[in-house]
Every structure is written in C-alpha cells, then in structure tokens.
Symmetry: C2
Subunit: 230 residues, 2 copies
C-alpha cells in the first residue's frame, strides 16, 4: 500500500511546510512509497475523521498518525526492517536535540525573514487564517516583520556554528549517511527556499554545501519542490 501524506500547499503547488518536509524525507529514507495530498490550512479540518488540527498527517492503510515526530517513531516501529530513522536511544536523543535546536534557535529567526513571503504565496482562502495566527504567535502584526532581514543574517550565521563544526568532520549530521537529525535541520532551509528569493545561506558556507547535498538525496526529492534556486 502507498502511504498517503496530507501536505500543506500554497499557490503554484508550493509545498512549504517545514514539518511536512521532515515526514517526506523520513518516508524516502525508509524507502517507502508515498503520495501527497495537497492540503490548504483551511482544509486540515476535513482530513480523515475531522479530528486533526495540524499536518503532517499520514494514512498508512487505515492507520492515521499526526505530528512529524510521532510519525518518525511510528515508521521505525512499523517498518523496523528498513533503515532506522532514530531507532535506539542515541539516535533518538540526537535527533531530539537537533530538532529542539532547529526549532527554538533557527526557525524562530528564519520566521522573521520569510513569513511575509509565505503569506504572499498562500492561496486566497488561507491568507486571513495565516495572518491572524502568525501575528498572534509573535505578539505583533507580521506586516513589515521582514524589514532589515539582511542585518539578521550574521546572527543566523553565528547560530549555525555548531552545525558548521560537525559538518567539518562528516558530510551529514548523521555522520557518513543522513539520519533524521539531517531532516529536522533541513526543515527551516527548505521552508525558506520554497517561498523566498532571499537566500538565508550562501555558497562558501559548509552549511550551504550540506543543504545542497540534502536537496540531492532520494533523486532530488526536495530539490524538485517548486521554489527558488539557492
């Protein structure tokens, strides 16, 4: 059976959700066949039995799972004969730390650089919901929040230093091969690349080289996503 993934979509089929990208990379890592169902924010309530409020959601032959972290754990348990994502305590703790680092230290800053670009590329029916919820999340109107973003690139560069140091030793955060830690670290970058011409990392940075390597994985799965070319 092909696994079905409900995947956020904007205009022109842009799949910008960082959380859905974690799951797409996880499914590809496990070598599992999957199809995506493009889903607008305002359509999430129609998924399955109507109980879901966020994506990703997968339907694996009648087993419904929500939340990228829960899905990764489910895939390792259900498909334990395939390459592990975070099976074992060390892999789990590794991916968890990198995820919490990427969410709290990287995505929050990247948000201030791309959130108006996301808004601009949403379908008309999603704009009001997005504007309201994201303004509430950051405690201010998101209009104008991207202003001066080029001056925040140095802060982002410094925050990425742990990753840069690890990548001086090995091609992936997982070592010689990618692990779920790479997919959670990927998520703020693919999020930005899908909606924004503003390159948050640039050639010459080892993090950029890593990003290009991850875009190439699984026959260029992430690279093929409609977006900008950086």
């Amino acid at each position: 059976m092909t696994i079905l993934l409900y995947d956020l979509v904007g205009q022109d089929d842009r799949r910008f959700s960082s959380n859905c990208w974690r799951t797409k990379m996880a499914l590809a890592h496990k070598g599992l066949s999957f199809s995506t169902i493009p889903t607008k924010f305002t359509e999430i309530r129609n998924i399955g039995d109507g109980s879901f409020t966020t994506v990703p959601v997968i339907d694996d032959d009648g087993t419904w799972i929500c939340d990228s972290w829960t899905i990764a754990n489910y895939l390792d348990e259900r498909y334990s004969d395939r390459s592990p994502l975070l099976a074992g305590s060390d892999g789990y703790q590794h991916a968890l730390f990198v995820q919490e680092w990427a969410v709290s230290r990287i995505s929050t800053l990247v948000f201030t650089m791309i959130v108006e670009d996301i808004y601009a590329q949403l379908t008309p029916e999603d704009k009001e919901y997005f504007h309201m919820t994201r303004s509430k999340r950051v405690g201010r109107n998101i209009d104008g929040i991207q202003e001066g973003r080029e001056h925040r690139l140095l802060d982002l560069y410094e925050r990425l230093e742990p990753m840069r140091k690890v990548l001086a030793e090995s091609p992936f955060l997982g070592g010689d091969y990618p692990s779920y830690s790479d997919y959670v670290a990927l998520s703020p970058f693919i999020w930005a690349r899908t909606v924004s011409a503003f390159a948050i990392i640039k050639s010459g940075d080892p993090v950029y080289d890593w990003f290009q390597r991850v875009l190439d994985l699984y026959d260029g799965l992430a690279r093929a996503n409609p977006g900008y070319d950086w």
Copy 2:
C-alpha cells in the same frame, strides 16, 4: 593500573578546567580508577615528554593521550567492555553536536561572565600567561569584560532552550541515563561554579535541575570539587 590525569589547578585546589571535567566524568562513567595530578598552566610543558601544550592529558599505564575528545574515543576503544561513552555512529554524532553547541554558543558567552573570576583564582605564576592568552583570544583586554554580566543572562537562558526542551522529556541529554553529551554540556557550568559566585543558572530552570543531577553522579564527583554552592 590507575589512570593518571593531568588536571588544571588554581588556588585552593580549584579544578576549573571545563575540558578536564569532561575527562573526569568520562573516566567515572567507564568505572575506571584514576588519580589527578594538579597542574598549573605554566607546568603543562613539563608533562611527560614535554610535547603537550594543553590538558587534559592522561597516562594509561604508559599510553599517553591528549585532548578530551580523543581521550573519550580512546577509552571506548580500549575499554570496550565497559559502558560506552559515544560508541556507535549515533552516540558519536550526538555528543559531537552537543559539544560543538556547548563550545560555540554557551562557553563563549559564559566566558564573558567568569573570565576575571578565573584570573582572580589562579596561582600567581599562572596569572600573566592567562591574562595575555585570553585577552588575545577575545581581541580585547579581559579587564572589565564581566561588567553587565547580569544583563547577558537572558541571552544565555534563550541559548539553552534546546537543552531545556530535551530535558522536558528525559532526565539526561543521553535519555534515561547520562551519556558523553551530558558531560560536554556540563563543562561550561562546572567551569563557572568552580570559580564564580555568580550563578549562571538558577533554581526553577530545568537546566538547573539537570545540573544538580549531574553534580550528584558518581558519588558526587563534580559536587565535591571546591567551588561555589549553586
């Protein structure tokens, strides 16, 4: 054979080296018997064959190893029958990421809060060397660098968020049990606690609770270190 560890020392037997603490915790984790040899900065050149420029250095029955990361890898290889520190790709990559995060994002900031306190507690013969090398390292005279440190605590608090989130799930960064990731994360905190009355984390923060748990490990090895009570 008892392993010998050359360990930095200040006045009143204060063992303040963050890198030496990684190795002490690693040796205790492996259940290995070890003795420390108190060593001043200006005595490092007298260790062994005179080729060493930094500590920790261990002498394991004639095998000399320098550098905390190299030592951790050596201990796992040499004592592979004992509880692993970072054996296996996932554990290695986990500890490496946490180490690079702690060094580049946490220790550099903590440095600005405690470096004059370290200087004050050095033995007279080490003061000139330390003042010169540390001023050079940060590109300014370290005198006065601690000024306003209380205003930098919020930045430190925010930088610690990934760790705080992981500790909401498990008592240690390693999960249910401590791993080398916990010892590298410990190092900036034990460094500060040994030399400074200025508490960089406080009760009520999950990171503080974790710190107290790690101080208690191995019969309170780190807690017994002369220092301040926070």
